[in-house]
């Protein structure tokens, strides 16, 4: 199945910035509320899900073939 992979570098960059911006949220909550607090755990799960998303997005972006390749092959 062919996907439109154009612009994925920009999306990967934005997702990485999102990961950086939220990285200190669990640390802050942990320092204020402790490791076992519900809010700290929720923030930890949030950051983990963002990291998983960014890792998969990077992997997809690195392995994706440009759409233009298909176009040239069709010619």
């Amino acid at each position: 199945m062919n996907f439109d992979t154009r612009g994925f570098s920009a999306l990967t960059r934005k997702a990485t910035e999102l990961m950086w911006e939220t990285a200190d949220v669990p640390t802050l909550l942990k320092s204020r509320l402790g490791e076992q607090h519900e809010l700290t755990r929720a923030a930890g799960e949030m950051v983990a899900s963002i990291e998983t998303f960014v890792r998969e997005l990077r992997s997809f972006d690195a392995s994706a073939e440009p759409v233009t390749t298909d176009t040239y092959q069709d010619l």
Partner: protein, 174 residues
Amino acid sequence: MYIPEADFEYLIRTLSEARSRATELAVSIGSRLGSEHQLTQLANAAASNIENTLRDIRNAAAQKQDSAPGLVDLHGALQAGTEKVPQTPVPVPMTLAFASPAGLDSEHWLHAFVDELVAQARSMGGMSFERAERLLQLRKDEFLRDFLTARRMYRTYPHLFPEIADETRQVSTL
């Protein structure tokens, strides 16, 4: 277990921006790959987790606000300051009178705010809720700007703030 108001402000602002970004990313990826693709689902999951955390933080902030002592101290201090005006026209004694019962540091933002509020009330012969809200918002914006700058400094150059790092380590080991 205590979260200062400034931390709540920082968390809510950070997570609100993160939610917007994550939603935008999920929509962009979904439009390219389809809603069933794994990446779209991961993006949606991340956005959903951010949304949930933001809601929990907002709830915690609201609960803290409900349980806070409120503006009673501030009102009392302002009244005390106003009553003292005929005897003490210089604003410094009023600040000290406010600082002592409230138990706040002399550099606390509330002092500057109250000083400014009373000074404007004097010079304009009164004070409206709207003007007081504007002054408070200005003070809040200024505080947040300084706070965010300080946080970025700490995140970028943590080795320059060894005493904060030590404090954080101590708290986390409790």
